[in-house]
């Protein structure tokens, strides 16, 4: 597969006001209102996203759209490119071809190609700003080990958003309360269980008031009895109207919480639909085989 040409700007982006405009300028439906889902322009749009590491094509022409307030569960066998897809959304990887747009704003590049057909990369400060609008939670937590739970959560609001320490502490404490860890504020990550660490990591991401959250197998490094406490936090977030993409093998969670389930295999999005459609009536043999292995 070759993707020499970058995709042309889609018609709906025609009246672009100012490419440097702050993301979020585009009309984002209030995530709190249920009526928003489906009706408005999608919050996350992937168009023909392709990623190659040398000769290895890890993502092949992926299209995906997620409406504001929607929960998408991404499933697929190991090595199918799920993590890479998430990482392309918050620019931890640069797509080889294709476009990622959040709230209508192209990520990492100017809105329109230059006269010679090349795309102008954004300066690193602006890329950092775009990333700061997207929360990410990792399989292995990646908390800052030299900071307490509270300091972990306060760090980015102070350093990136320029909040005052008092303000950051106040909201960090209320986030800790929300994930059920108010009594662990002064513990270092090494003094917390895996499930507690992951809940702190979720609070750390939420402290930036992100527009959307990406979860890359948030429970697969946890002992089975700790999975439920993390899934409970995710479920509560989903009910609060957070737009989320969750890579997980927890099919029960997918059935209960997901608005949309996406099945990836070999770098391609093979099937997508509601949990009922995908999990109860899989069409492809690959998905049937995969479901048999995880259910």
């Amino acid at each position: 597969m070759t993707h020499a040409a970058t995709p042309a700007p889609t018609p709906d982006s025609a009246p672009t006001p100012d490419p440097a405009a702050v993301p979020g300028a585009a009309p984002v439906p209030d995530p709190g209102s249920d009526a928003a889902a489906g009706a408005a322009a999608p919050l996350i749009e992937l168009e023909g996203v392709h990623k190659a590491f040398g000769d290895l094509h890890v993502l092949k022409n992926c299209d995906l759209s997620v409406a504001a307030g929607e929960v998408t569960v991404l499933i697929g066998p190991s090595g199918s490119g799920k993590s890479t897809l998430l990482r392309c959304i918050n620019q931890l990887e640069e797509p080889t071809a294709g476009r990622v747009r959040i709230a209508g704003v192209t990520q990492g590049y100017a809105e329109k190609p230059l006269a010679d057909g090349r795309w102008q990369k954004l300066p690193s400060t602006q890329i950092a700003h775009q990333r700061s609008r997207i929360g990410m939670v990792f399989q292995r937590f990646h908390l800052f080990p030299h900071m307490t739970a509270l300091q972990n959560i306060m760090e980015a609001p102070i350093q990136v958003l320029g909040r005052s320490a008092a303000e950051a502490e106040k909201s960090a404490l209320s986030l800790l309360e929300r994930v059920g860890l108010a009594d662990r504020a002064d513990h270092y990550p090494s003094e917390l269980s895996g499930g507690q660490q992951q809940r702190v990591a979720i609070a750390r991401a939420l402290a930036m008031d992100p527009e959307l959250m990406l979860f890359d197998e948030p429970t697969s490094a946890l002992d089975p009895e700790l999975v439920a406490e993390v899934l409970a936090v995710l479920k509560e977030l989903a009910e609060g109207g957070m737009t989320m993409i969750v890579v997980t093998h927890e099919m029960g969670f997918a059935r209960e919480v997901a608005d949309q389930v996406v099945f990836m295999d070999d770098g391609m999005i093979l099937e997508q639909g509601t949990p009922d459609q995908l999990i109860e009536q899989p069409r492809s043999e690959r998905l049937k085989g995969f479901l048999a292995s995880v259910l």
Binding site: N90, L92, S124, T125, A128, H129, Q130, R131, S132, R133, I134, G135, M136, F138, R140, H142, L143, F144, P145, H146, M147, T148, E155, A156, Q159, V160, Y188, P189, S190, E191, L192, S193, G194, Q197, A201, R204, A205, M208
Partner: protein, 329 residues
């Protein structure tokens, strides 16, 4: 062996009813004559040594006592401390810069950093000190301008570069080359996930380095940094090469030559070096404790806590043995 095997005592009914473990093993240590013999031998040797130190007239403890607080000696201690601290500070700044340059994507910065380490680690510190001593002869004038073009201003180096600064710069730049490798391994030892997590939060590269990477790297950098500082304390005795003539070794040597009594003044110097080293070790302890926060060394903890600091230091390889920096251009 006739050692009685301590068989589990049968339920001593009633006798020790308060013990929750009724069949507790009452063990008797197996005899270890070797331990006792070696301890006695070592104690005897040490006593002999102390006797030798006290009674041998060559050591002349009266002279040691007279000169240990001599003005020249105490001033020498001050200068030695000052040179140690300043050259370590310079070395640390240079090393951190060089280590960060080695991580840069810019090949020119990487190359310059590599060349600096190559030259300053590959030549004797004595040679470098002589060079810095001659700096004002080699470079009598520094001018700012365009090479081969106009000159905007210039100054004579002799006015601004006394022997003291030549000593500090010489020791600092030499030390920086060693520390750069230590810093580089330290920075590399921090999990890549830390950078990714901070990027995902929208932190800038500078902040990631300052707030996340360096504080964690310090945990494996501080122990070798402590060793290097103690090494530097002793290396300052080479500043005679500059020549800088106020440090502790020079001061005690000068007195020794005047008195024709080298040995008591060597002891004076040794006592002072040991005293300073002890103070530095206390400082190192507190630094290690500060940067080790969040990393629990007790066994059986969770996550990073499982690994001890020493194993982290070993893994990071901040105490490299190789004499040349790894080529990685």
């Amino acid at each position: 062996m006739s050692t009685q095997t301590p068989a589990p005592v049968p339920a001593a009914a009633g006798r020790r009813a308060e013990d929750p473990i009724p069949h507790r093993i009452r063990a008797k240590a197996s005899p270890r004559p070797g331990t006792w013999i070696s301890a006695v031998v070592v104690v005897l040797v040490v006593l002999g040594l102390i006797n030798f130190l006290i009674t041998n007239p060559v050591f002349d403890w009266a002279t040691v006592a007279t000169y240990i607080l001599d003005v020249k000696v105490v001033q020498g201690v001050g200068w030695t401390l000052l040179i140690t601290v300043l050259s370590m500070v310079l070395g640390t700044v240079v090393a951190l810069t060089a280590a960060i340059m080695r991580r840069s994507e810019n090949p020119v910065l990487r190359g310059v950093s590599w060349a600096y380490i190559f030259v300053f680690r590959g030549t004797p510190v004595y040679t470098q000190l002589v060079f810095w001593g001659l700096f004002t002869v080699i470079v009598p004038k520094i001018a700012l301008g365009i090479p081969f073009g106009p000159e905007w201003f210039s100054f004579s180096t002799r006015d601004y570069f006394p022997a003291f600064w030549a000593a500090v710069v010489g020791l600092g730049l030499n030390e920086g080359a060693y520390l750069a490798e230590i810093f580089r391994s330290g920075l590399n030892s921090v999990d890549k996930g830390q950078t990714e997590a901070s990027k995902a939060l929208g932190m800038s590269n500078g902040k990631i380095l300052r707030r996340i990477i360096i504080p964690q790297a310090m945990r494996v950098i501080v122990p070798p940094l402590g060793n290097e500082t103690i090494g530097m304390l002793k290396t300052t005795s080479l500043v005679l090469a500059v020549p800088f003539t106020l440090d502790l070794t020079f001061a005690t040597n000068a007195i020794a030559n005047k008195l024709y009594a080298p040995i008591p003044l060597l002891i004076v110097a040794a006592i002072w070096y040991l005293a300073i080293t002890s103070v530095l070790m206390v400082g190192q302890y507190f630094l290690e404790r500060y940067f080790g926060r969040g990393f629990d060394d007790r066994p059986g903890g969770v996550g990073p806590a499982k690994r001890s600091r020493q194993s982290a230091v070993n893994r990071a390889g901040t105490t490299p043995k190789d004499s040349l920096p790894e080529v990685e251009l």
